[in-house]
């Protein structure tokens, strides 16, 4: 259980995290979504006591992280930035962390096997690939068999196989009743892993909801697909009812501006037969884009500068 209460963090003139309040419950995977620079990593660092909040509190299992007597047993964390000395072997890195809590060597071997680093554990971390580094970070997070796991962009640098591996791992951890909180900018990944979402933009809370609700909220106003026995008559009736429709290649109508309920009512009033009535669905990715588009820090310019010497990407 992670509780964040009115937490803010200011770096100079920048308010990186702005009065965030949310609770992460055990037993499910909670996703932490937001555009780059939204404050996800900062929020996690505040929870983990690496940064001090400007105001507000963050607690894990009812205590500030700093007050935990055995933090590795309570919280396992994988940070986005590397947190390993490159000159040390993976085994010695984990051993040194284990020794801070008196965790036995056998456990170090177990987590190394768990993440599949057995063959390279005695090599220096400096030679690790990004994916191997992520696996080592996961091993460190699981060293203390923690009840809460916080992972910042765990899929970073992992190949598709590795991504599937970590997805299964996280779901497994949640099913054991642990609190799993992970950030990602890969919406497709979140869609398959998370049940609940915390969405932030520019440091502010945008949504705190389950994935299905998030998608359906964002789908409001998305076009509805309708197939009817008499499409022309239906189109005319829908236009009269305040909607707008276009005909798709397969003869179905794409209807804008009307809900599925309203379309059904109009069809019934006109005694028109419907063969299909599909509510507009956007993917989590589209939902995320539509909901956070106002809070993206660096919007792409809609038009490229005409002056060819201006570097592309010089934002608005």
């Amino acid at each position: 259980m992670i509780e964040v209460n009115g937490i803010s963090k200011r770096y100079g003139d920048t308010l990186a995290v702005d009065d965030l309040t949310f609770t992460i419950k055990p037993g499910i995977v909670t996703g932490f979504l937001g555009p780059n620079g939204a404050g996800k990593s900062t929020t996690m660092r505040l929870i983990l006591g690496l940064d001090a909040p400007t105001s507000g509190t963050a607690t894990v299992n009812g205590k500030r992280y700093r007050d935990l007597a055995a933090p590795l047993h309570e919280v396992g964390a994988l940070l986005e930035a590397r947190a390993v000395h490159t000159g040390r072997s993976g085994y010695n890195h984990l051993l040194a962390l284990a020794q801070t809590h008196g965790i036995p060597r056998t456990r170090v071997g177990e987590v190394i096997e768990l993440v599949g680093l057995g063959s390279v554990a005695n090599k220096r971390v400096g030679g690790f690939s990004l994916g191997m580094g992520q696996r080592l970070g996961v091993a460190a997070a699981l060293l203390g068999d923690p009840a809460t796991v916080i992972l910042d962009e765990p899929a970073n640098g992992l190949d598709p196989e590795g991504i599937r591996w970590i997805r299964n791992l996280l779901k497994g951890l949640a099913s054991e009743g642990r609190t799993v909180f992970l950030s990602s900018h890969l919406m497709s990944e979140m869609e398959q892993t998370a049940e609940h979402l915390i969405v932030i933009g520019r440091g502010r809370l945008i949504a705190d909801t389950d994935v299905a609700t998030f998608v359906s909220t964002a789908s409001y106003g998305a076009p509805v697909r309708v197939r009817a026995a008499q499409p022309q008559a239906l189109a005319a009736a829908l236009t009269a009812g305040g909607g707008r429709s276009t005909t798709l290649d397969d003869g179905a109508l794409q209807v804008f501006g009307l809900t599925t309920e309203r379309i059904g009512e109009i069809a019934a009033a006109q005694q028109l037969v419907l063969h299909e009535l599909t509510p507009g669905q956007v993917s989590l990715e589209e939902a995320f884009m539509s909901i956070t588009k106002d809070s993206v820090d660096f919007q792409h310019a809609d038009t490229l500068p005409t002056d060819a010497t201006t570097p592309v990407g010089a934002g608005t």
Partner: protein, 276 residues
């Protein structure tokens, strides 16, 4: 294990006794210190300097004996010449000390360290305890090697002294103590600046550049400041023959310890306050 296998965590027995304690952090810092190649090299070089440079100087002096003037022969200082290696050992230890903490900041390891020990200060204490213990033991052994090896060579022309000679034992211990305390100071400096280059530059600046700058001042002002400079205050204990303008060996060393404590206090405060 194949990556596609659904991973499961082995179930742990009771882990309630596993919590962070200072002895455990010391154990961890011990592992951290010895598991880096740079540590082993630096400590080896420091040992070699402290143990080998004195005998090497003695060897040169004995082999050139017939060419030495009477004045040179009379001023051979068997204690300081056999222990002079501390000047180089001090540099190696100082650089290693800075790097034990700045290396963590540079690589991000500090975040792992502070996640495991979020109260933070015990990490600094453990580092100081481990580093100073290792340095003190190694440098003490090396200083005895240097002294005894040097005296064995000095016997050739009977300029050797015994360990029981005035100042001999104090200088042997002094060389090790001053080098160790320099290490403690440099761990604190590294904690404050968090950058390897900056930490080493600060050490070199205060220990080796500052004395030269003071020389530029009018001599009475310079003479008033010189005894207080860290290397002058602390170095007296590692020398048998004292500069009369400086503090007494133990008095000067006490002052140097005072400087070190002040810098450690600043480092501790910053470690607690700053975002990692």
């Amino acid at each position: 294990m194949s990556a596609t296998t659904v991973p499961t965590l082995p179930v742990r027995a009771d882990t309630s006794g596993e919590r962070v304690t200072l002895p455990r952090l010391i154990h961890s810092e011990w592992t951290k210190l010895w598991s880096l190649r740079s540590t082993r090299w630096s400590l080896f070089l420091a040992f070699l300097s402290q143990a080998g440079l004195g005998p090497l100087i003695a060897l040169i002096e004995m082999s050139r004996w017939s060419h030495l003037s009477l004045q040179d022969r009379l001023t051979i200082n068997p204690i300081d010449h056999s222990l002079g290696g501390w000047h180089l050992a001090q540099l190696a230890i100082a650089i290693l000390a800075v790097m034990t903490i700045t290396g963590e900041y540079h690589t991000g390891m500090i975040r792992s360290s502070l996640l495991a020990a979020p109260k933070r200060l015990p990490v600094l204490w453990a580092k100081l305890i481990v580093f100073c213990s290792v340095t003190l033991v190694l440098m003490l052994i090396a200083a005895f090697f240097g002294f005894l090896g040097g005296q064995a060579i000095f016997t050739e022309h009977h300029v050797n002294v015994a360990l029981s000679a005035p100042h001999a034992l104090r200088t042997v211990f002094g060389a090790a103590l001053f080098t160790t305390m320099t290490g403690a100071l440099c761990i604190a400096l590294g904690t404050i600046v968090r950058r390897t280059a900056g930490g080493i530059a600060l050490f070199v600046g205060v220990f080796f550049v500052l004395p030269g700058l003071i020389e530029i001042l009018p001599s009475d002002t310079a003479n008033g400041i010189h005894p207080y400079l860290p290397n002058n205050a602390g170095g007296g204990i590692a020398q048998a023959i004292q500069d009369p303008h400086m503090f007494s060996p133990w008095g000067g060393f006490l002052l140097f310890c005072g400087y070190t404590v002040v810098v450690i206090i600043i480092a501790a405060r910053l470690l607690l306050q700053r975002d990692a």
